[in-house]
C-alpha cells in the first residue's frame, strides 16, 4: 500500500504550492484545506488515527474557519496579488529555500536506515500519556490558550487611544 502514501504526498505538495502561488486569498485557503486533509490521510496511514481526526477537526475545521471569518469581516475588495507576484520576486527566496531544502535532505540522507517498529497507536493511549506524564504540559497549554484569548481580545479593539494609534503626522520621524 506504499504507493498510496506517495500519491497523497504528491497531492499535499501540489496543494501547498498552489497555496503559496495563488493570488486570491480565498482560493489559497481552500488549497490549504486540501493540503491539511491529505496530511490527515497520511497520519491515518501511518497508524495515528487520533491526530488524523484532530487535524481534520481543529486545523481544517476550526482554524481555517477562523481565517474565513476574518476575511469576511474585513470584507475587502478582491485584493489580487498578481502585480506583486512577479517572477523576479521569487528568485531570491527561491534560491534560499532550495538551499535549505537541500541541506535538510542531506541531513536526512546522512542518517542510517533503521527499520521501524510500526503499530497503530490508539486514542486511549494518547489520552493516558497526556494526562499522565504530560500533565504539566497540558496545564501550560491551557495557560497558553488563555493568554492567546486575552491577547486577541485586547488586540482587536478599535477605539482611538487603544494599543495602536492611527498613523498621523509626527508619528515617527
Amino acid at each position: 500500500m506504499n504507493w498510496m502514501f506517495y500519491i497523497v504526498a504528491a497531492i499535499t505538495l501540489i496543494a501547498t504550492v498552489r497555496v503559496i502561488t495563488h493570488p486570491n486569498v480565498v482560493y489559497a485557503l481552500l488549497y490549504f484545506v486540501v493540503s491539511l486533509l491529505s496530511v490527515a490521510l497520511i497520519f491515518y496511514m501511518i497508524g495515528a488515527p487520533f491526530v488524523a481526526a484532530l487535524e481534520v477537526i481543529i486545523y481544517a475545521g476550526a482554524i481555517l474557519v477562523l481565517f474565513l471569518f476574518v476575511i469576511m469581516m474585513l470584507n475587502f475588495r478582491e485584493e489580487h496579488e498578481t502585480h506583486w507576484l512577479r517572477k523576479r520576486i521569487w528568485a531570491g527566496p527561491g534560491v534560499l529555500c532550495a538551499a535549505l531544502l537541500a541541506v535538510t535532505i542531506a541531513f536526512i540522507a546522512q542518517g542510517p536506515m533503521v527499520s521501524g517498529f510500526y503499530r497503530t497507536i490508539e486514542p486511549s493511549e494518547v489520552g493516558n500519556a497526556l494526562f499522565g506524564p504530560y500533565l504539566i504540559a497540558v496545564q501550560l497549554a491551557a495557560l497558553l490558550l488563555l493568554s492567546g484569548l486575552v491577547g486577541s481580545s485586547h488586540l482587536r479593539r478599535h477605539e482611538r487611544g487603544s494599543l495602536l494609534r492611527k498613523p498621523e503626522g509626527g508619528d515617527s520621524q
Binding site: 500500500m1 506504499n2 498510496m4 502514501f5 506517495y6 499535499t12 505538495l13 501547498t16 497555496v19 503559496i20 489559497a28 485557503l29 493540503s35 496530511v39 497520511i42 496511514m45 501511518i46 497508524g47 495515528a48 491526530v51 484532530l54 486545523y59 476550526a62 482554524i63 477562523l66 476574518v70 476575511i71 474585513l74 485584493e79 496579488e81 506583486w84 527566496p93 529555500c97 535549505l100 531544502l101 535538510t104 535532505i105 540522507a109 536506515m113 533503521v114 521501524g116 517498529f117 510500526y118 503499530r119 497507536i121 493511549e125 494518547v126 504530560y134 504540559a137 497549554a141 497558553l144 490558550l145 493568554s147 492567546g148 486577541s152 488586540l155 482587536r156 494599543l163 498613523p167 515617527s172
Partner: protein, 102 residues
C-alpha cells in the same frame, strides 16, 4: 497500515516546511503569510508524528497536539493583529508597515 520509510516521511515534512517558508518570504498578503506559518507548523507536526510512528511511541502524537494548541493560540492573536492592521492601513500589504526602521 503502511510501513513507510521514516526518511520519506521526513522528506515530505521538510519539503512542506520549505514551501511554507518560501511563501512567507514571497507573499505580501498578511493572511497568506499567516497561512504559511501554519504550513510550517504543520510540517513540523508531521515530522513529529512520523518519527513517533516509526518508533511506535505515543510521544510524537503528544507533541503534535501541543503544536496544534500553540497554532490555535497563535492564529487567534495573529488574526487579531491582522484586524488591527487592516483598520490602520486599510490594506493587508505587510510592506506598508515599515515605519519602525533605524
Amino acid at each position: 497500515m503502511t510501513q513507510i520509510p521514516l526518511e520519506h516521511g521526513l522528506l515530505l515534512a521538510s519539503a512542506l516546511f520549505t514551501l511554507g517558508l518560501l511563501g512567507f518570504l514571497v507573499r505580501r498578503n498578511l493572511i497568506i503569510m499567516l497561512v504559511c506559518v501554519e504550513i510550517m507548523l504543520n510540517a513540523a507536526g508531521l515530522a513529529f508524528v512520523m518519527a513517533g510512528a516509526h518508533w511506535g511511541q505515543v510521544d510524537g502524537q503528544i507533541m503534535f497536539i501541543f503544536i496544534l494548541t500553540m497554532a490555535a493560540a497563535e492564529v487567534a492573536v495573529g488574526l487579531a493583529i491582522i484586524l488591527q492592521f487592516h483598520w490602520r492601513y486599510q490594506s493587508l500589504d505587510v510592506d506598508q508597515a515599515s515605519t519602525m526602521k533605524g
